[in-house]
């Protein structure tokens, strides 16, 4: 088991490194050959990173989370492209390869990545530490707390789309039939993004509330890695694309709405990485775990 965890840790670091390199390759296309092709694989490398990271963090629950994320993203896209639901109006993708002739596979996979990154970054930001694991709290409070955590998940996804959507609309990746108030994108689209991410993570967080994890996670570099992936994906990649397209205003908005999460997550990581305390994967962990188990888990982490 320990060897398997080490192997997943290595895979997480390798994919994060390749992800960073692929982005650099996209930035400096002058110096290297084939780098554009390499950069185009960015989305798939991101999904690989997410899968490995989820296996490491959520272990046997990773398929459940990734399944919920995929289902939420796919359902919303199918309803959005077919009926104009969820995102307020109908839109269509200009790519030729589409699942059911409606949505490109890369978009569906990106949904999984976005929702997982949002969930993981909120866990880094979450100030609860071992509060819910080791101390008594009233059940209603923990439910409200989970609600607030999922709200942050929703904002993380929505704020990412505030740069992603204008860039893709401007470059012709997809088309909104009636346009919209935010650089050609309807405001309802962002409300849709918020609720899709909110709903997916809320289901999983409530599930974790009912069936708590029996292990806690160390606050190490891998725990923090999704923050780097989000920064590369959201700010660096789309910031540069905005700049290249001559729309620096997209980049300014993207930085201003995504950077607070990155700054707070970095602060949280800086403050807690060296402490012997550990952060539970689920805040409401171990309600049913006896004291001996808790002590064992803490001792292992020390």
């Amino acid at each position: 088991m320990a060897k398997a965890i080490t192997a997943v840790n290595v895979l997480v670091i390798v994919t994060l490194t390749i992800l960073t390199l692929s982005e650099i390759a996209g930035i400096v296309p002058v110096y290297l050959q084939h780098q554009i092709t390499f950069a185009k694989q960015f989305g798939y490398i991101l999904v690989l990173f997410v899968v490995f990271h989820a296996l490491r963090s959520l272990k046997f629950r990773a398929p459940i989370f990734l399944g919920i994320a995929f289902a939420a993203g796919a359902l919303s896209e199918l309803l959005g492209t077919t009926y104009g639901w969820i995102y307020g109006q109908r839109y269509y993708y200009t790519a030729s390869d589409k699942v059911f002739g409606l949505v490109p596979l890369s978009v569906l996979l990106t949904w999984v990545a976005v929702i997982y990154l949002a969930y993981s970054i909120t866990n880094v930001i979450d100030p609860a530490k071992n509060l819910f694991a080791l101390k008594k709290v009233v059940h209603v409070s923990s439910f409200i707390y989970v609600l607030l955590l999922s709200t942050i998940d929703g904002f993380l996804a929505m704020n990412l789309d505030m740069i992603l959507d204008p860039v893709y609309v401007r470059s012709g990746g997809w088309v909104w039939q009636d346009g919209g108030a935010y650089f050609g994108v309807p405001i309802s689209n962002f409300i849709g993004w918020f609720f899709v991410a909110f709903a997916a993570t809320f289901i999983f967080r409530v599930y974790s509330l009912r069936k708590p994890f029996d292990t806690v996670q160390k606050i190490d570099f891998i725990f923090f890695a999704p923050v780097i992936a989000y920064a590369i994906f959201g700010i660096v990649k789309y910031g540069i694309l905005s700049y290249v397209m001559g729309h620096t205003e997209y980049a300014v908005i993207g930085i201003s709405v995504m950077f607070p999460f990155i700054a707070i997550a970095t602060l949280s990581y800086q403050l807690r990485k060296s402490t012997p305390e550990s952060t539970p994967i689920s805040r409401d962990i171990t309600k049913d775990i006896n004291l001996t188990q808790k002590q064992r888990v803490l001792d292992e982490n020390r």
């Binding site: 100030p127 609860a128 707390y145 607030l148 904002f155 962002f190 602060l267």
Partner: protein, 320 residues
């Protein structure tokens, strides 16, 4: 720290009585200004529908400034509170004056004459910069400072042992990005109102504002907060700060209504007020930008408050 009891306040007839009843005047003033600013904001929003509410609404900025002044004195001490607000005002005046007279750092712009009077009095300018504009900077920076402190305490309640000079840049970055997010909503509205305008026919890409000005203001605010936080930490290290009152950071797990009020004032001050104006100017996109930029930090502040409150309760239970 207790909020003044209104019943005690009613019964008290003299200053001496008030002192005897242990009523904290500053806390009463903070609470009063907090309620008034909420009411005045409601009046501003109502003014869209009901006329004659504007005069009261114009008081809003001054009420928020009053709140910030009293709150800072209460939570970081008279000397430090005045120093912080003074530093913000002077730095903002220097920046605005540099821009309006020489076009330094933020582009060349000019403040228009304010078309209204506040309770019959004209709006005052200092070196061509409206006084209320300078107040606005102090308000935004102080509220961001409070939110960052609350978030910080959520992670590390034993701040006195944790806070180092190495951590100050992290805190200052968060302060600065919060204020930058306020500007992302307020500046385009001010441009719409023609409260200021860029000279030489400059039309920036971000709702008429050049994109680089956001970075310039970010750096300016970073510098202001960095200076104050370094000064504050120096005081903490030298034990000049009274641990019970004069440093928000040293309060550790002791949380009160005073810690959570800045979150609401921040939302009302920046988002609700300017959000309502954005609606008037038919700019729903600005409401989206403001909400996306400001609400998450406020929610994270709420989480920190929630955790501090429960940790304290749990500590009492476990006797730690």
């Amino acid at each position: 720290m207790r909020i003044g009891n209104i019943a005690d306040f009613k019964e008290a007839k003299t200053i001496k009585d008030l002192k005897n009843k242990n009523i904290d005047f500053l806390t009463v003033l903070i609470t009063l200004s907090f309620i008034l600013l909420l009411l005045s904001q409601a009046a501003v929003i109502l003014s869209i529908i009901v006329p004659y509410q504007k005069e009261f609404g114009y008081l809003f900025k001054y009420l928020v400034f009053g709140f910030v002044l009293f709150h800072s004195i209460k939570t970081i001490g008279v000397k430090n509170g005045l120093f912080f607000i003074g530093l913000c005002v002077i730095a903002a005046l220097t920046g605005e004056y540099g821009a309006t007279s020489h076009g330094w750092f933020y582009g060349h712009y000019v403040f228009a004459d304010v078309p209204y009077k506040i309770l019959g009095l004209p709006s005052y300018k200092v070196l061509g910069v409206p006084l209320e504009g300078l107040f606005s900077w102090a308000i935004s920076i102080y509220l961001a400072y409070c939110i960052t402190n609350l978030i910080f305490r959520g992670y590390k309640s034993d701040v006195s042992r944790t806070l180092t000079y190495g951590l100050i840049p992290f805190l200052a970055v968060l302060d600065s990005i919060l204020v930058m997010n306020v500007n992302m909503l307020t500046d385009p509205i001010a441009i719409q109102q023609r409260a200021f305008y860029y000279t030489g026919g400059v039309v920036g890409k971000y709702f008429g504002i050049p994109a680089f000005t956001s970075i310039s203001w970010f750096l300016t605010i970073f510098l202001i907060v960095f200076i104050f936080r370094s000064y504050e930490l120096r005081g903490i290290k030298r034990r000049k700060f009274d641990s019970s009152l004069t440093s928000q950071l040293l309060k550790g797990q002791t949380v009160s209504a005073l810690d959570i009020m800045p979150l609401f004032v921040f939302l009302v001050w920046a988002l609700i007020r300017y959000g309502a104006l954005a609606l008037v100017y038919n700019h729903v996109d600005l409401i989206l930008i403001g909400t996306a930029g400001m609400v998450p930090s406020v929610i994270i502040g709420l989480l920190a408050y929630f955790v501090l409150k429960h940790e304290k309760g749990a500590d009492n239970v476990t006797g730690r």
